[in-house]
Amino acid sequence: MPYKLVCGLEVHAELKTKSKMFCSCKNDPFGAKEPNLYTCPVCLGMPGALPVANRKAIEWTIKLGLALHCQINLFSKFDRKNYFYADLPKGYQISQYDIPFCHDGYLDTSEGRVGIHRIHLEEDTAKLSHQEIDLDDNGELEKATLIDFNRSSVPLVEIVTEPDIISATQAKEYGQKLRQIMRYLDIANCDMEKGGMRLEANISLRREGKNELPDYKVECKNINSFKFLEAAINFEVDRQTTILQNGEQPVQETRGYNSTTGKTFPQRSKEDAADYRYFPDPDLPPIEFTAEEIETIRKEIPELPAEKTARFINEYKLNEKSAKNLAINMEQALFFEKILKEAKKENLDSQKLINNLLNGKIKFGFDEETSSIISKFKTVSSSENIDGKELQLAIDKVLNAEEDAVAKYKAGKTVVTGFLIGCVMKELGKKADVIQVKQQLVATLS
């Protein structure tokens, strides 16, 4: 393909603090039974109301920045982003403009490193929904917009990447890894169905071999799953390729994604950044951290997925796939590590143990004691502990006897493998591990 993808992602994640960002209202917009239950003068933008910053939200933002290898701005502040919209009660959003808490970090994926341009903290807006209601009590239904401020001023962390993403699969991997890290840090639930994590992709193409950034970008919004993210990017790449091949340049615009049709569609022109008239919020004194305070926060960061996976591979001699699987989330990792530690102590085959647990051969519960699981494994293993030599003898004998089947196997009809395994099992005369048998049989045959 003559064109290469140039893509950057903007992710917004709601932090799971107990209270909102600038007031002491409950932070639970999704769980509220009714609209406008968790509001106060501050998050409703009433006259004379004043914001006071949630310390925890700030610490968690810095924690995230450190986990993503960012530089932390020791001096920082909140700025007002001024614009008008029905979901913005003050007519401005308290955000960060030129001195975000974190900047210049990275997240590694299997397709390369994705640079993190900046991470900043801001407040969420209210939620709009559109319904037909009887506005004037005259029996006629009219289209109206309903506003719920339960979500207003919930802390929102915004992570912006450099335009380093080169494929739709990498974008998906980045998003998944970012979510995993935030869950590991226990700072956000990132439930996309609940709006806890929102994705935006900036997509453009440049000619193969060129290094300059293209002078347009298309912003794609309304993407609420990783699957859709992949699909949207792929669609855009095709769409933009066609335009470029026609000798034209794609319009710089904002597009939405329609999951039913699998297509993006224009939403409105992306003005070259509306004039938000940013200025430092005079109601919020600036923030200044010491290097020691940052280190204290850094020490609170648990072992993250990448490190944990690598350590599982080294310390417990697991393969990458298993290690990744175990490290999928913190609770699971902690649970399995207890078992692995015990297995290591007793010199058991950890990989085999894990395989048996993950493929369902050994049934267990996440509330089960380590000792119980270990003993289950031992039971299963002992009945299957076939000496390699003994197994080889049995295999050789079977292969000699079943020339027909062997010939069929060599001709590509691998379906006879099952039959051969059965013969070997019979020959062995005792309960054997099918997988072990199969492995050695196939190895012998090739």
């Binding site: 917004h12 603090t17 107990k18 209270s19 007031c23 002491s24 209202c25 409950k26 932070n27 009714e34 609209p35 406008n36 239950l37 968790y38 509001t39 106060c40 003068p41 409703l44 006071v52 910053a53 949630n54 310390r55 925890k56 939200a57 700030i58 008008f84 919209y85 029905a86 979901d87 007519g91 969420d124 807006t125 709009l128 929904s129 559109h130 209601i133 506005l135 009219e142 289209k143 109206a144 917009t145 309903l146 506003i147 719920d148 401020f149 929102r198 919004k221 939405g256 939403q267 409105r268 004039d275 008239r277 200025f279 430092p280 005079p282 919020l284 004194p285 600036p286 923030i287 200044e288």
Partner: protein, 101 residues
């Protein structure tokens, strides 16, 4: 500097203030007069001067992450002054365009 009424209309849009054509002309004159006085600022030497955004010098003013129900409204209080409400929501005429979030 002087300001013309086209600029005034653009500002009015940014500021979400409805202005008539006539008002925009009057306002342009007012602005020009105000800016005359403000432009005197330019005479001051500020090359090595820092910006002061806050005079108190306070830093690091935070809230702990605690829910304080006594500072919150009931749904009724929240809606008490709205012109239009519906089943606990604030209501506005249907907004056609979708913006950022």
């Amino acid at each position: 500097m002087s300001v013309n009424n086209t600029q005034v209309k653009h500002i009015a849009q940014l500021a979400n203030i409805p202005v008539t054509e006539e008002e925009s002309i009057d306002l342009a004159d007012d602005f020009t007069e105000t800016l005359k006085i403000v432009d005197q600022l330019k005479k001051t030497e500020v090359k090595k001067t820092e910006i002061t955004h806050q005079v108190t010098g306070f830093k690091n003013v935070f809230r702990e992450d605690i829910v304080k129900e006594e500072q919150s409204f009931t749904q009724e209080e929240a809606l008490a002054n709205a012109k239009a409400t519906y089943k606990g929501y604030f209501v506005v005429p249907y907004i056609l365009q979708n913006k950022d979030n």
